[in-house]
Each structure stands twice: as C-alpha cells, then as structure tokens.
Assembly symmetry: C2
Homo-oligomer: 377 residues x 2
DNA sequence: TTGTAGGCGTTATCAC
DNA sequence: GTGATAACGCCTACAA
C-alpha cells in the first residue's frame, strides 16, 4: 500500500517500474496493454499493486471526455415503482463501470429541464428518461445535442431513442378480459394523463379490451387523471361514483390511482370487491398488502432497469447502431380486489358466465397468475 | 448561445471579453470576483452569458480536488423508508451544488467495502452512511482516511462523526406505554439486530418502557431478528407465537418486522388487533394502508435526510468544527393494529385501566397522534 | 487590477 | 516497444 499520504499517481508507478508514465498508462489500460512488452507490463502492474495505485477518474475524464456517469431522470423516487427499477439500472450500469445520478422531476417540466442542464454540465455520458411526455422540449434538446438517451417505461415517438417499456395495451386488455369473464359489463376507467404514453396506451387497451368482449367503453365511464397520484385517483374515483351509471368495476391506469380509488369507495361506504371490483397496473411493491390486495398487471421492474441500462451502454460504448424498441410482457395478477359481479347487479349470472368463458377458451392474452403463496410473506 | 459545436471554454470567454483567462476565471468565480474591476467583471460575465459558457466541472475538480459529489450508502433503496430520506438528502445537497451517488449494500459488508472503495476512487467529497454497525471496519477506515462522514439513522460510538438519528428509546417507550395504557401486560418484542444501534436502543426502550410501567420484560418474550426484513419478522413472529406465554401484544423493532409478524398471525388464524396488538417503528410510506393500518412510531424521514446533508456540508465546506450528535423526536401514531386487551385475557378490565391512566395523566412521553384524517387519502 | 506560468493526473500523438 | 510532448479546462501563487 502507498505509504505517503498522497495517493499514488501514475508517475509514481512509472518511477517505481522505471518506465515512462506513458508506458505505465499503456500497461495498465486493458485496451492498450498489448502495445507494451509482456515483461514491462508485468513490472508496471506489480508496481501499481504495490503502491496501491488507483487511477484518478477525474483526470481520466478530463482527458477522455468520459465521465462514466449516467443521468437518470424519474418522476419521483417516492413512487414505490421506481426503487426496484433504479436498482436494476444501477446494478447493470455498475457492471460496466458506470454510476447513476438520480434526479426527480415531480412531473415539473422546469425541474426536468433544470436537471437535464445540471447533468449535462456534469458531463454525464448519457441519459435514461422515465419521464417522457409525448411532446417534450427536453427530449427535443437531447436529440439535437446528440447525447445518448434511452427512454424507460414511458416512450415518445419521433425521437431516435431506444426504449424499454411494457406492452400496456396487452396488459389492460387482459385486465378487462378478466373482469368481463367475471361477468362485469359496466366497467369504468380511470385513465392516466393523456400526454404520457402509458396513459394513452392503457386507455387504448381499455377500449380495445371492451370492444373485444362486445362491451361498450362509454366515455361517460371514463375519467382522466391529471397525473399518476393517489390524490388524482381519489378525485377521479369520486367523480366516477358520482356519475354512477351502475358501475360494477373500475380499471385504473396504475396502482397509485387504484389506491386513491379505494379511498373514494370508502367514502361512499362501498366495499371492494363486493361493491366494486378494482384493478390496477404495475404491481408495485406492497400493493399486495392493501385492503383488499389489489389485482393488477405486473411487469418485471428490476429487468426494466437492467434492460434500459443495457440499451444505453450499447449506445455509449458501442457508438452507432440500430435504435431498439423493447417491450416487456405484462402479466395479470388476480387478487382480492376483483370478484364476480353480484348476480342482481350484472347482466346475467356471473358464475355461469365465467364457466361459459372458460369453456370457449376466450381467456385473456397474456400470462395469468394468482399469488396466494406470495401474498402473506 | 455558443455557435460552435464544442462547448465554450474559459479561453473562449476570455478571448471574447479581451482579457486573460485568469482574469475571466476570477471574474466568474464569486469568491474572487472582488479582485477584478467591476467593469471588466461585467464584460466577462456578459461574454460568458453570450457564449453560453458552463464551467467544466471535471476540469475544476481536477484542479480543486473537489468533486462536489457525495457518497450515500444505504442498506436497500427498496426499503420504503429510504426514498423519502434520500430525497431530503439530495434536495439539500443540491442547494449546495452537490449531487449524491447512491449505493446499496443489502447488509453485506463486502458490498459496503466495495462501494466505499469505488466511491473513494471517484473522489467523492464525503459520505453519508445509513448502514453503520457497532463494529464497522469501513467506518474505521473512513476515520483513518479523514474523509468527511455523517452517520444517518444508525449511529456508532467511538468515531469522530456527526450523526442524525431518532430518539429510539423514547419512541419505543411511548409505544410500550401506549400498550400498557390499553391494559396489555404480557408484551413481546421482536428485537432488531443487536449489532446495529437502532436494534440496541429500541430493545433498551422496550425494557425501560416495561419497567416504567411495572411490567416485566421477560427474555422469553423477546426474539432477536437477524435483520430488518419481512422474512425475519415472519420468522420471529412465528417463534413468539410458538413459545406462547399468553402474549397480547407485540412491539416490533421496525415496520418491516411488523409486516412479517402480520404474516405469522395470519398463519395462526389470529386477527390483529383483537387477537394480538402489534406496533412497529418508522411509519414508513404505505404502512398506514395495511390490513389493519399499523400503529407505529413516526419520525420525519425527509428531515432526517436534509439534516444529514446539512451536517455533512458543514464538514465539507466549513472544514473543522465540533462533532454534532443530532436526535429527531419520534411521535407515536396509533392506528388499527392496537386495541385494548380483551377483558378475559388481560390483568383487569382494559377500559377501566385506560381510564385510570388517563385520569392520572401518566401518558407516554413523546407526542401522540392519530391520523384518521390521513388514513384514507 | 491584471497577466504569467505552472500544474492537477491522465492519455493521444508523435517520434525514435 | 518505448519515450517525449502536449493537451484536456481550470485555478492560483506569484509577478508585474
């Protein structure tokens, strides 16, 4: 180990190995090691070891214009969906020697712009955006600057960015099919914000899913949330219940909205699922411990992060290459928040309807799981 | 804005302002601006503005040996307790122009060591540790290296580090007092890991709280968790229930353990709170939505983060100064997981006991809150 | 008040 | 294969 209090520098190593610093640099750098004789390379490596040499990443960055740092911009780390995603991202980045700088926008465009500028100033080598909106000045700017970008969870069209997201249409179609198979016909939708891809595609999945079952997706039974928050879920849930229309089930565009919706049901004295079936999207951590455990659409959070990191690394390290649009398959998880429609309220006997569906084999596309085993751990 | 594709450098600004780069540097740097004439300072600032000049932080770091980066080492971002803490930390750091590098140890000492080394290699200006154990080689090393460190949430003695944590004893004493006032006498404890300060001090709070009420903290009613996980809570809960001993209430050293304990109750067919009162610690996000909503001990998560950041900034920017040990006050939050002991099981009528307490004014120290208003949002 | 010079630690580009 | 040199962009004694 280095005895002096100043950490060993490349010069020190070079001196100890009796070579020029440039040679030491070559010997220590995997990609240039072959330029130097095996013997001296050995000597240098040894000296480095002995002195406890650690390359100074700042100096290296200055020279190579690579910070080995990635900017990750998300709406809010407090949303339980993001921690596992971020961990996947960080773990995969770490394998490549990169670290993440996390920024929260709180869905504020100004904050997002600000974070982007700050991170650019810090010379990050690329960005992962989990905040894309359909029209986004920041993405525009990123495209112009030709900085490597990957979109995660949310997508945007018209940009030359790779992306990883979930097949939202399929997920919501499966959710609707599940409700339909339980006999529900009057199904409401708390739609996500329509300036965000997930909001749009889940809305589309809802309409398609209804249509596929011969049900009508009445606009009177759709309320649009301004954001994916519990508060908005509460507001929209209230509005749906006020409008009434004999709803027996609600498809929320994500779990946070579903949680808010639970609150609205409570206020009305309605119990879930007997009084109203509710289904969410994301299967975020702890959502299986609510009262009742929420039926929802799951996707692999951690993998969303790792895949995003991999796509970005391809861009950052590999240079040019095809833009990739990656979708992860969702999976319906049925829990306690959905049940057959009460026989007096539905358009027929739920159980027999259920049987009929099962017989005709019209089960929803997409995998289906129950997780009784998991729900108590 | 800069027209060339290469970002403007200090030289460019100097050239545009017709001064020497050194002068430009002085003019742009707040702390040296007074060394330059107001007129030229003006000219330089203007030129910088016009060229869209952004100082290169990498170059600056190389020169000043300051990365304006802080290493934050936590057990696991997936623990819902940490996101709000991390946000507080990041927000406060951002005010000082610093950013955080987050590292997760998963309670693995090797990973912690590794993260510490990686971050040191990246020349972070300081560390926040939320992973301190009573005997910690990494902290030892940090102390030797004289790198600024602040301990957060968990503390360790014998190190010259400032710390922010919660008055754990007081919190648990309040929890015990609450249970006692409900008539509980045979109270069990799922203790946290005893190599961590929170585990020890909450255990101590439990013993003291029992004693203060004239109750016995029987070791037979205490089980020690190996970590703050749901799994360990489940295991310890099972063990407590197997041992039996006529428990009517359980104090868990944190919310995760309490959640696991819920699972153990389920297995036994016990309902909470009638069959068993349970109380946790942390009031982590979403814990108020469990079935039943968990009574727990709350502390301000976000502020824990901001205070840690402030303490670290004092060290990093201010240099020497007194070590500060800061405690945040906890607050008991009573929800649906605690109720009076059933009259046939307890050592007397719960309600009358409750009344007696109320009359004699022996309420627990520490603030007490119920959050009916909050629980449904 | 401003300019000069040197260096932070590394690597790219020449020569030899 | 190795050495010399310069440069990445900035800051700061020191000199003028």
């Amino acid at each position: 180990m280095g005895k002096s209090d100043r950490p060993a520098t490349l010069r020190d190593v070079a001196a100890a190995a009796r070579v020029h610093p440039a040679t030491a640099s070559r010997a220590l750098n995997p990609s240039t090691r072959l330029l130097v004789s095996e013997e001296t390379a050995q000597r240098v490596t040894e000296a480095a070891e002995r002195l406890g040499y650690r390359p100074n990443p700042v100096a290296r960055s200055l020279r190579t214009r690579r910070s080995h740092t990635i900017g990750v911009i998300i709406p809010d780390l407090n949303n339980p969906l993001f921690p596992p995603i971020v961990r996947g991202l960080e773990d995969r980045l770490a394998e490549h020697g990169y670290v993440a700088l996390i920024g929260n926008t709180d869905a504020d465009e100004r904050r997002e712009r600000n974070l982007f500028d700050q991170m650019r100033a810090r010379h990050v080598d690329g960005f992962v955006f989990a905040t894309a909106t359909l029209q986004s000045p920041v993405l525009e700017e990123a495209a112009e600057a030709e900085v490597p970008v990957v979109l995660m969870n949310r997508t945007a069209q018209g940009y030359p960015f790779s992306s990883v997201s979930v097949d939202n249409e399929q997920g919501v179609r499966a959710a609707v099919a599940h409700l339909a198979s339980l006999g529900h016909a009057r199904i409401g939708h708390i739609a996500g914000p329509q300036e965000v891809s997930t909001g749009v595609s889940r809305y589309r999945g809802f309409r398609d899913g209804m249509e596929a079952r011969g049900l009508t997706a009445d606009e009177g039974r759709i309320v649009y949330a301004g954001g994916y928050s519990i508060e908005e879920g509460l507001r929209c849930g209230r509005e749906l219940l006020e409008r009434d229309g004999g709803l027996t089930a609600i498809v929320a565009a994500n779990d946070m909205l579903a949680v808010g919706c639970y609150g609205a049901l409570d206020e009305r004295g309605l119990t879930c699922p007997d009084g109203m079936s509710v289904i969410g999207f994301n299967d975020m951590p702890f959502i299986d411990r609510l009262r009742p455990p929420l039926s929802t659409v799951r996707f692999p959070h951690y993998q969303l992060g790792t895949e995003a990191a991999t796509l970005l690394m391809e861009r950052v390290e590999g240079g040019e290459g095809p833009v990739k649009i990656l979708y992860l398959a969702p999976e319906l998880v049925t829990r306690g928040s959905t049940c057959p429609v009460p026989s007096d309220a539905g358009a027929g006997d739920a159980v027999s309807l259920h049987r009929r569906r099962a017989l005709t084999g019209t089960e929803p596309s997409g995998a289906l799981t129950t997780d009784e085993a998991r729900s108590n751990l």
